[in-house]
Symmetry: C2
Subunit: 371 residues, 2 copies
């Protein structure tokens, strides 16, 4: 039988040189048949489902990069099963990190990626070239009216996308329906006055049925983008939302996923994109989170790289950002990104409108905006 | 205004003594309003949503346990939002581990826990007191007929619960419907011959709609238990399955969740139980996974402890188990557990039936079984 189509995954193992060959082989079995190879009696299994060690490269005396070929047949076209095969059991083994995957072309057909992507977001906003601006409605605890007032202030200042804070769910103080209605109405009023397109992206939460219902309501309200936390709702649930709500754009938030031991450039840059995120929020370097500048650079490269039929996603650095850092951020990320400043605007208090305007102007100025 | 109802969460922070007070306060804000307290103008927010540092206890010079009171109002009755508030953003901060939570009574009403629990599983099997036995159908790659033949062998040997390997999804070589039909038919034949009750627990996978459809089909086939990976399908999706399929028992698998930096006793022992798992698989100590004996002990205690209206879940140690280790396992876990041996049985090859019987007899013998 010819070699089955495979997916190459690179794992970083902490292990001694003496043990690495055996450890790598154990990992390949763990991530495929989960039993000793000797105990497999059916010879077809080798071709159908057993993963194989392709290459072992030492990084130093205690670290090795191991490339393992997983059979595509074990994954099917399921996003959850892809994660399961890549990092299901070995997530429980502390000496393993998943650092990268190399997609065979076949996978692009199995997971079509974002429906809109960076280009779709730009087209919707009518902003073809400059970096985009984003902010968040918070703190949670505010009423729909108070959130809508914030939304109006941000929109008036010219911010492109205003999202709910990811902690805003369906709480009693601001349930989804009245919140979305109030914020979207506030936006419409500003847009009719300024003529400048603005998108409000409400945060979805709850069970799959509730998520679908929220998206239905959002569509009726002419909402064009939703904020989702794929690891909280579950990757297969996220895929279902992308499949069934083709007009909606999705901005993915990394909540709950930070400790996965899957390299952030792979998880947020490639996998979130592959699963359908049009925009991907990630923790900016130098903020209150722990990503390095190199990690952020690689993540952004993964989100934007040409990749078969999978559209580029818009990278959205966030966390610890301020208007003063705009030039630094644009130097780091370039124009094909969206800067998200939340607390850094809200801390302006009564000067919120002015600071939001400064944010917008700084981004326009430093990316050579032409109105 | 009176103090809002709160949930106390304990985080372990790696931090210097000089910085811990400030770091703890930053964490409380990160996990609630995500902005500086000074920037909050509405005085009601303090009562509604701001989390507060309750206590800081040094563990050593670089580690502190910090108890933070999260407002229940920020969680609502949503499982995903509970995880979001507990560990959404701070999952991205490497100095933070979530080690425990203390549930207020109110939470028991919000998340009712398992519908059947350990007692329900015992009642279904008709085994009131002894430890239970479990094994797995694998490797993936086998056809439905081959899996069904394995199922028959295990059932004939007297094993209580036979689950699909968690890597078995809906792959072309053994799709859900023919697989479940074949395995359940094989079980029925054995049961009609031996009179001994056996449960087959197929693995669910796919999008929420596919999961519901699989459970519908399973119910028609009189399947009584399903294997789920809550972190792969998503916690809110798992909750929805539990809510909408009340007759089904659920065995939860830890795939993808091992690296979360949430203490395993809390995550698997308490939270999986709270979200509705009737049985909870976890990596046994001394196997190929990294849990310590103490961790396993605490996890089992969390799954079984009396806890308001939340039924105890059945702990299922797995990984690196063998028939020879049965006495050790029973000493460690006691009779209110289910031992899962997969590869340790399958490696017997042609002697699979005999080794499976030895497993059953060892468990019966060492827990003083009375037929």
């Amino acid at each position: 039988m010819a070699a089955m189509s495979t997916l190459h995954a690179t794992y970083r193992l902490t292990c001694s040189a003496n043990d690495i060959a055996q450890r790598a082989q154990a990992l390949a079995l763990e991530q495929s048949i989960e039993m000793p190879l000797e105990a497999v009696s059916d010879p077809q299994i080798q071709d159908l489902s057993v993963a194989e060690v392709i290459e072992i490269t030492p990084r130093d005396e205690q670290q090795f990069d191991v490339i393992i070929a997983l059979k595509l047949a074990t994954i099917g076209a399921e996003a959850g099963q892809l994660l399961n095969m890549l990092f299901g059991n070995c997530s429980l083994q502390e000496d393993v990190r998943l650092v990268d995957i190399e997609f065979p072309a076949a996978l692009g057909g199995m997971f079509p990626g974002p429906r809109h992507g960076m280009a779709g977001i730009r087209a919707t906003l009518g902003v073809p070239a400059r970096a985009l601006t984003c902010t968040a409605l918070k703190p949670q605890g505010l009423s729909p009216a108070a959130l809508a007032a914030l939304c109006a202030t941000f929109a008036s200042a010219g911010i492109d996308i205003i999202k709910d804070d990811h902690g805003i769910a369906n709480q009693a103080y601001a349930p989804f329906v009245p919140r979305v209605r109030a914020c979207q109405r506030a936006l419409r009023e500003v847009i009719s006055r300024t003529g400048k397109k603005v998108i409000y992206a409400p945060s979805l939460s709850g069970s799959p049925r509730q998520l679908h219902a929220q998206l239905e309501f959002a569509r009726e309200e002419e909402i064009e983008m939703a904020l989702v936390s794929p690891m909280i709702m579950g990757i297969p649930t996220f895929r279902e939302l992308v499949d069934e709500h083709p007009a909606m754009m999705f901005m993915a938030h990394p909540a709950l996923s930070g400790a996965l031991r899957i390299a952030p450039p792979l998880f947020y840059g490639k996998l979130f994109r592959l699963f359908g995120a049009d925009a991907v929020i990630f923790p900016n370097f130098g903020g209150r989170f722990s990503f390095s500048r190199d990690t952020c650079h690689d993540l952004v490269a993964g989100a934007r790289a040409a990749w078969a039929n999978v559209k580029p996603a818009l990278p959205v650095p966030a966390g610890g950002m301020s208007v003063a850092r705009v030039p630094e951020m644009l130097t780091a990320y370039g124009a094909d990104s969206m800067l998200l400043i939340g607390g850094g605007l809200l801390s302006a208090g009564d000067a919120l409108f002015e600071r939001s305007q400064q944010f917008v102007e700084a981004v326009q100025f430093f990316t050579g905006y032409h109105a």
